[in-house]
């Protein structure tokens, strides 16, 4: 761990906030993608249609 001195809060806060925001964005994107794929598959199975 590098010595960040008196700026440790600013630097670690920046990295923490960025990792958190990117993790939320990626998580929500993956969750919504999976949910939509499942819902579409169910409706297609019900209607007897397929998609490419």
């Amino acid at each position: 761990m590098p010595d960040l001195g008196k700026y440790a809060v600013a630097v670690l806060g920046s990295y923490g906030a960025t990792v958190f925001l990117l993790a939320v964005l990626v998580g929500v994107s993956l969750w919504r993608s999976a949910r939509m794929r499942r819902a579409l598959r169910e409706v297609e199975a019900r209607q007897g249609t397929t998609h490419g």
Binding site: M1, P2, D3, L4, G5, K6, Y7, A8, A10, V11, G13, S14, Y15, A17, T18, L21, L22, V24, L25, V26, V28, S29, L30, R32, S33, M36, R37, A39, L40, V43, E44, R46, Q47, T49, H51, G52
Partner: protein, 230 residues
């Protein structure tokens, strides 16, 4: 859809690789700046995020224009998919900028031309996302958001060039320049390039993933509408 399905794992893997390598290189293996101390490590997050916030809007502008001119549905959905990704980039740039600004400028925020135009761009991102949600008919929503995107592009350009236009305020000029005198030193520049590549790849990956989701959502809506009519 098949091409994007094949591309996605590669893009995701490359973006994780670049972000991890650039982040570790920048955080652990670069020296402190002689003026800014260890806060210079924030550059590896702030600059790529700000770049992608502005370039994301430009990408939305291009796809919106394609929608308006050619009525290509996937381009409208790609613009819609990019909205939340661009918004997250603007929030990262604002938060890391405030955390960097406080120890360097003595203030979290200043009504400086670049910061103010960037804040307005953030509000445009919020308005863009809200407008997509507010209008029920997808084609009307695509038309209205495309117009909003064209108007907001003024602030995307201002965010990038405000320092050059007004030559005042606290924010410095571009960190990356073709002019060797103005560019950051190589020891910071190389890991910064890797981080920028990581942010670009992450942006492309997420936009691709979210565009696929929007295409599926559109198909689901039409199938459900057909079911209701039957």
């Amino acid at each position: 859809m098949q091409t994007s399905a094949r591309l996605l794992p590669w893009l995701a893997g490359l973006s994780v690789l670049c972000l991890t390598a650039g982040g570790i290189w920048g955080f652990f293996f670069t020296p402190d700046d002689f003026r800014q101390g260890s806060t210079v490590k924030i550059i590896y997050l702030h600059v790529p995020a700000a770049m992608m916030a502005i370039n994301g809007w430009i990408m939305m502008l291009v796809t919106s224009l394609i929608w308006l001119i050619r009525r290509h549905h996937v381009s409208a959905l790609a613009a819609k998919a990019a909205g939340p990704v661009g918004l997250t980039m603007t929030v990262i740039a604002l938060v890391t900028g405030a955390l960097w600004g406080q120890p360097m400028w003595g203030t979290w925020w200043a009504w400086d031309p670049r910061l103010t135009s960037f804040l307005i761009l953030t509000l445009f991102y919020l308005g863009y996302i809200a407008l997509w949600s507010a209008v029920e008919d997808p084609d009307t929503a695509a038309d209205l958001t495309s117009v909003l995107c064209i108007v907001g592009s003024v602030f995307a350009v201002l965010s990038r060039y405000a320092v050059n236009f007004w030559n005042q305020g606290l924010h410095q000029g571009a960190s990356l320049s073709l002019d060797k005198e103005e560019n950051v030193a190589d020891v910071f520049y190389l890991p910064l390039l890797v981080c920028i590549a990581g942010f670009v790849l992450l942006f492309v990956t997420l936009v691709l993933l979210r565009t696929r989701t929007e295409i599926r959502a559109r198909r689901l809506q039409s199938l459900l509408a057909r079911e209701r009519m039957a």
